[in-house]
């Protein structure tokens, strides 16, 4: 009688597990509880914000990009809403390297999920220097932002638009740090495959794509003035999703290293689309504004339902499956 009951319970448990989909992700040996990632520059100034988003359900969180010295960034206005998206030109504000490293240490302690430390430099050498410093705080990854479109005046064209420069940044950073390296790419190039291939060959462990599109501009008609103080700003949000999906699709064809796909993802359907294109995890940035910080849990729940419907057991059944 007892053993019969036991068998029955076991059967229920097995059936239940069988129905559940596994949302855990693994990138370069680092485990994420789920594939949603808070991308760079979204709420990543304070460690306390990163801890909050981790508790809200993100699988990993990324800091605001850290640079070699104090920068105030662009003057307000730094954001303006447009149809189906947002233009931003925050301009890589940063409190300076010492304070950033302290804040990063706090984030690694406070967030119970992998912390990705985003960073930038004005020269190839500075990328190496900053990478070395932030690596001491022991983040799960460091992420080289070679793709910010908003500081061209001061920093020249992003390193991410040249295969050679991108590869040199990667080589120098890999020399200075043993922490797994993500390279964040810009979609604003004619052939993203070649850039991806260059950074893979130079030793990158992972690719994040895409940074914002454009830059774009929004002009106020009554005053006849561009609203952003920087005049132009990078476009994010649903408006760029088709571009982001195509970029990730192209990158997946070119390289073997894992991709964190982002750009306009705001639902489980969008996440599934990005995974199918070839991403192993998905960044959710602008949707934090439109859906609040509950968006990470919600996207996971929606994604789980879609996977159930499709009969997927784990993310492996989705990743890259749009390629034949």
């Amino acid at each position: 009688m007892m053993s019969c009951l036991f068998c029955y319970l076991l059967l229920i448990v097995i059936l239940f597990i069988d129905k559940m989909v596994d949302l855990s992700a693994s990138l370069s040996g680092v485990k994420f509880g789920n594939p949603t990632v808070l991308p760079a520059g979204i709420l990543g100034v304070a460690a306390s914000s990163l801890a909050r988003i981790a508790s809200a359900g993100a699988g990993a969180v990324t800091t605001k990009s850290v640079g070699p010295e104090r920068r105030e960034g662009h003057k307000n206005p730094v954001v303006v809403a447009v149809d189906n998206g947002l233009l931003n030109a925050v301009g890589l504000s940063c409190p300076g390297l010492d304070e950033s490293v302290e804040e990063l240490k706090k984030a690694v302690r406070a967030a119970h999920v992998p912390v990705i430390a985003s960073f930038y430099g004005r020269t190839v050498e500075e990328f190496g220097l900053v990478a070395e410093r932030i690596s001491a705080a022991k983040p799960a990854f460091i992420e080289a932002n070679i793709s910010c479109p908003n500081i061209e005046d001061e920093y020249g064209k992003p390193f991410g638009t040249s295969c050679e420069l991108a590869a040199r940044v990667v080589a120098v950073v890999k020399d200075m740090s043993r922490v797994p390296l993500i390279v964040k790419l810009t979609p604003n190039v004619s052939d993203i495959k070649n850039i991806a291939l260059s950074v893979e060959e130079a030793g990158a462990d992972c690719i994040a794509a895409v940074n914002t599109v454009g830059p774009g501009m929004y002009i106020d008609v009554l005053s006849a003035k561009p609203v952003l103080s920087n005049r132009a700003g990078g476009l994010s949000g649903p408006a760029i999703r088709p571009i982001a999906v195509r970029c990730v699709y192209d990158i997946y064809e070119a390289v073997d290293i894992p991709i964190i796909g982002m750009g306009g993802i705001s639902s489980g359907r969008d996440a599934a689309e990005m995974l199918l294109a070839g991403a192993s995890a998905v960044g959710i940035g602008t949707a934090v504004w439109t859906r609040g910080d509950g968006v990470f849990k919600e996207v996971c729940a929606e994604l789980g339902k879609i996977m159930e419907e499709r009969g997927d057991r784990s993310l492996k059944d989705l990743i890259g499956k749009a390629h034949c």
């Binding site: 520059g41 979204i42 709420l43 990543g44 100034v45 304070a46 460690a47 306390s48 914000s49 990163l50 801890a51 909050r52 988003i53 605001k64 104090r70 920068r71 105030e72 960034g73 003057k75 307000n76 206005p77 730094v78 954001v79 303006v80 809403a81 947002l86 931003n88 925050v90 504000s93 940063c94 409190p95 300076g96 304070e99 406070a110 106020d220 008609v221 009554l222 005053s223 003035k225 609203v227 103080s229 940035g285 602008t286 934090v288 504004w289 439109t290 609040g292």
Partner: protein
């Protein structure tokens, strides 16, 4: 998703030698007490401001000349254009208690005046602080609501020579205060927070942090250690939510660097 619009200034009122009220030609939208707007001077810059009054045809912003941006904002004239987005913030003043006390320092009365005027039936007391007699604002509007007003100045040129929080304990006892609303310099608010925590009186505070986006994305207005965002979760917070926080000790500047209060 968001409402950005450019409107005309339909009038300017002088409140004090350093404070003006701008009347904006904007049909008032639904707004909660204490919410804020981002104001853009075309080609100059953008900053958060509370609304100091609104009706069907217009809304008002009260500005003190404190720096280059507010100086320019103050100098705008009838007919000039101003960009506006908002209202922002999910934390606002909520009418509580029968005998509320308002503690305002400097321009701190601005985000609270609509609450006071919108809840006239209560037996309110307002402790209104200013540096000098000339800088007192809204005293007439406060009196019109029937509230008991206690004026304090830093130099004693009007009312009592004191800081607003120094009167609070006495007023709480005398007027059986059962709720407190507070806005002003953070050092003063910190003292008010101590008093209401000790006396266990429900209280709300309107906070200020450096804001860039105003929509909960950039993270520059985050409070340690909770990660609460002043632009989105505030700008008004219940005392319990900010009690054990950076409030009163430090804040972040435009680069994200911590500076002491």
């Amino acid at each position: 998703m968001d409402t950005f619009e450019t409107v005309k200034i339909s009038g300017v009122r002088k409140e004090t030698p350093t404070v003006n009220t701008l009347v904006l030609d904007k049909r008032s939208c639904r707004m909660e007490y204490g919410q804020f707007y981002m104001l853009w001077i075309p080609g100059v810059g953008e900053k958060p401001y509370a609304c100091s009054g609104a009706n069907e045809k217009s809304m008002e912003i009260t500005v003190k000349h404190a720096g280059p941006f507010s100086g320019k904002l103050q100098n705008l004239k009838k007919g000039d254009l101003i960009g506006i987005r908002g209202p922002y913030g999910k934390g606002y003043f909520t009418p509580k208690g029968k005998n509320p006390c308002y503690v305002a320092g400097g321009l701190g009365i601005v985000p609270m005046i609509s609450l006071l005027e919108g809840t006239k039936g209560k037996k309110a007391t307002v402790i209104l602080g200013a540096k000098t007699k000339e800088e007192i604002i809204f005293a007439d509007r406060i009196k019109k609501t029937g509230a008991d007003i206690r004026i304090v100045t830093d130099d004693g040129s009007a009312g009592i020579k004191a800081f607003p929080h120094q009167l609070l304990s006495g007023v709480i006892k005398e007027k059986k205060i059962d709720s407190v609303y507070c806005c002003g310099p953070e050092a003063m608010m910190r003292e008010v927070l101590k008093i209401v925590s000790e006396k266990k009186i429900p209280a709300q505070f309107s906070l200020e942090r450096y804001m860039k986006c105003g929509i909960g994305l950039c993270g520059s207005c985050a409070l340690d250690p909770s990660g609460l965002l002043v632009c989105k979760d505030g700008p008004v917070f219940d005392a319990e939510r900010i009690k054990d926080s950076e409030f009163g000790s430090y804040k972040r500047d435009s680069a994200g660097s911590k500076t002491r209060i």
